[in-house]
Amino acid sequence: MRRFCLPFVAALAIAIPAGAQGDFIVVQSTTSTQNSGLYDAIVPAFTAGAGIEVRVVAVGTGQAIRNARNCDGDVLLVHAKAAEEQFVAEGYGISRADLMYNDFVLVGPAEDPAQVGATDDIDAALAAIAGSKAAFASRGDDSGTHKKERALWAHAGVAPEGDSGTWYRETGSGMGATLNIAIGMGAYTLTDRATWIAFGNKGGHRILSEGDEALFNQYGVIAISPEKCPTVRADLAQGFIDWLLSDAGQAAIADYRRDGQQLFFPNAGR
């Protein structure tokens, strides 16, 4: 039907692509590993050696697990241990392995309106924020960071959800967007350290609380089970996971630095 289409569209349009077809796997991932640039740093070495392309879909832990349940990935790389173990227990994952860790930090405006101070006691810090009703930006998206944040509030004996919309503000967004919002409104927020270090728009915000044991942030990696998901590229996925857990993979993670700081600490098999 030549006469139905406008010449300029016809001239410029390019035929439907089939998508590059080689060996590849899809990794359903949390956002911090992508936003901090980790994949850009370590994946090329794996691809060069194994000839397997790694396609990362970074959507936050909650969404990544849901996508994986729909069999829309071969590897799951997230940071919410309880949810990961449940995923494996339900048969969606073959097994879960610790991959690496870093920690969460509480960031806030330099003026520190809640007088959090530079404390390593996260309970006290959160209680101070709740007590002064200083603005706090929550991910509110069921991500790994959000799960951690809710656990921390619970441990501090505060139920901030009741104040949602006042000082407690749920952004329903990813870590980067939530950081942008927190900086824009002078609010405190909880972030993983890797995202914070790599974040380019820190404004006047700085780390106000860090070092509490409760802020430990463990990343896990799971091969998605071919029994639940017959289309999964199990061999390729296992190849990637084996590499991540190998000395070479662990060294690559340890070597990744931003501004001279190490972002992730490999701890496979420990």
């Binding site: 289409c5 300029f8 569209v9 998508g19 879909v57 967007a177 942008n180």
Partner: protein, 235 residues
């Protein structure tokens, strides 16, 4: 805070060094958006013409529906297409999720109502002028639709451009069905979203400026072709 100066600097630097990643991203954006616009035209032009000149039951309801679908949020389209193309979905066996094809499908769905609705209006206006003539010639519905579409072709360029603009600008649908995978499904808008979430606001805005330039170039090209053709051939 990173300012506009940094953004323009970033945009200029990207273009000046002909950044290969940028070229790849722009290329994919063009491929996805133009393909989607083409398919949306192939569907939307005849559909709009049918709504304009056809006489069949539920035509009014269908027209309202098409007009309403113009306001469809891209993220909803993305979700629907995701649910269709997901391995767990009805079309999962096609293995299209996280491919450019999936992005083209989503944008085609997004853009078709816009092109169809604008086409309906353009064709209806033209039909007011042509109706009696075509009827006196005994032209059937199919011939009338073809005649009106061809004679409305210059106005329909605008409909196609409106559709293309929406496809080029949207991020919600391609983000969900494409996955923003580097070197595979990353396009201008998802790259901008990623850089924003990395806090690289100047780079994000710089990419936005490149996108604007791209959009300007496409529109200029189309308008130039339209004016030239209109002047040369069929005033």
């Amino acid at each position: 805070m990173q300012g506009f100066g940094d953004a323009f600097g970033a945009a200029f630097a990207l273009i000046a060094r002909f950044d290969t990643d940028l070229v790849e991203i722009v290329g994919l954006s063009l491929r996805v958006t133009l393909s989607a616009t083409l398919f949306a035209c192939l569907i939307g032009f005849p559909l709009g013409a049918l709504l304009a000149v056809g006489r069949f039951p539920l035509r009014g309801a269908l027209t309202v529906l098409v007009n309403a679908l113009m306001g469809l949020p891209p993220v909803v389209v993305g979700l629907v297409v995701y649910l269709m193309l997901s391995r767990a979905g009805p079309l999962g066996t096609l293995g299209l999720l996280y491919t450019p094809t999936a992005m083209i499908v989503a944008q085609t769905i997004l853009v078709t109502p816009i092109i169809a609705a604008l086409t309906r209006q353009i064709v209806a206006d033209l039909d007011a002028e042509y109706h009696e003539t075509l009827r006196s010639m005994g032209a059937g519905a199919g011939m009338r639709m073809r005649t009106l579409l061809w004679d409305g072709r210059f106005a329909l360029t605008t409909a196609a451009l409106a559709g293309m603009g929406r496809a080029l600008a949207e991020v919600g649908a391609v983000m969900i069905v494409g996955g923003n995978i580097d070197h595979v499904t990353r396009v201008m808008t998802t790259a901008i979203a990623l850089e924003t979430s990395r806090g690289e606001l100047a780079l994000a805005l710089g990419l936005g400026i490149v996108l604007m330039i791209l959009s300007l170039a496409l529109n200029s090209l189309a308008m130039g072709a339209r004016v030239g053709a209109a002047r040369m051939a069929h005033a």
